[in-house]
């Protein structure tokens, strides 16, 4: 889905609020939120793709205003309700107020029917895919051409894995793009490497 989570290349943001050796956590509840979602993954309540997708499905205003760990927590709450582990009414009763959840999920998809094996040096194009569900293709590479640098071991296909759709694991390719190709005349020169699932790619002949 083309959600607000897909931040790469968005303009208008100011300076990174950087401090040397900044901490990961700023409050005890953040440590707890991080642990609780990880525990739910360990317990098999949901997988990492479902977890990421439930964050992406947050209402855009909520997503943008929430802290990182509030997004984690919202995903945990949403998936526990959706999977029937805890009813929303019980959560709201226990919490003493409303509990905002992410929006509903759209259908996922399985692997592309024809997938090609690529090798280092191959020129590839990212397909012009538009899907309503989970996808790990940042919008800034859609339709763009790059060069394969290497292949990673096969992973669960996120577009299926986030939706309970059966699919084969498939390799991802480290594809190198030039920033000038991604944002012509509107970027600092650099090479941008992205891990791209095989189903998202086609060969440039």
């Amino acid at each position: 889905m083309d959600g607000v989570h897909d931040m790469g290349g968005r303009q208008g943001f100011g300076r990174v609020r950087y401090s040397f050796n900044a901490t990961a956590f700023h409050a005890p509840w953040e440590v707890r939120a991080n642990s609780l979602y990880a525990l739910a993954v360990r317990a098999g309540i949901f997988n990492m793709d479902e977890y990421r997708h439930a964050i992406e499905r947050m209402e855009p205003r909520h997503y943008l205003s929430a802290s990182y760990y509030e997004r984690s927590l919202t995903s945990l709450l949403t998936l526990c309700v959706e999977k029937g582990v805890v009813p929303r009414e019980e959560l709201e009763r226990r919490a003493g107020g409303t509990v905002p959840l992410a929006g509903p999920s759209a259908p996922g998809r399985s692997n592309a029917p024809a997938r090609e094996r690529f090798h280092a040096g191959d020129r590839v194009r990212v397909k012009m895919d538009y899907v309503p569900g989970h996808i790990r293709m940042p919008g800034y590479i859609r339709g763009k051409t790059g060069v394969v640098v290497s292949e990673s071991p096969a992973y669960p296909f996120p577009d299926a894995h986030a939706h309970g759709v059966p699919a084969q694991d498939e390799p991802t390719y480290d594809v190198r793009f030039r920033s000038e190709d991604l944002w012509p005349n509107s970027s600092d020169p650099a090479l941008v490497h992205v891990g791209v699932f095989q189903s998202y790619l086609e060969r440039v002949r």
């Binding site: 709450l77 805890v86 709201e92 970027s187």
Partner: protein, 205 residues
Amino acid sequence: MNTAPMDISEQKFALRPTATVEQRLDAIQAALDERGLDASQGVAEISHLAQEEWIPQNGARVVAKAWADPEFRQRLLADGRSAVAELGLSMPKHHRHLVVLENTPKVQNVICCTLCSCTAFTIIGLPPDWYKDLEYRARIVRESRTVLKEMGLDLPADVEIRVWDTTADTRYMVLPEQPPHTVGWPQEKLAAIVTRDAMIGVARL
């Protein structure tokens, strides 16, 4: 003017406040505990790992050994996951591949995750706040040189920047250049100068 108290049917539609994040977290933790997940115990265990075990000192040991031991360096660059296991360091099952990115005088690697905030957290530590902020996620892929300069890393014009967007479950860490004056130091002393920010690639040593 109607001054009668609200009856029950009207109360149902009265706006309830949103529960605070801590109330929401308490609610789900208690609900999971009650269902026999032993959430409180699990949270204690994972919180310990997150704060005491998944720390940048792990990655620092890897970097120090790579500087001191050329054969280890080759193994690390060829297969990061197996090489870090030699030091007793493990990664979650779903991180199937660790790619170690070697900086040189003419190449600066920098890692990010534009879609969420993925990192090799068991090796380089959980990501700092700024890594997860919208500003870094939006800008580092498109304005890398400008952003690095704002963060205090003013690279010479002839240094090529390579940005790595963690969009799959392959994980990355940067192998910084060894400062020349430290050649010959014992590994413990070398590890002490390696920072998490250098392993993300926003700083040089």
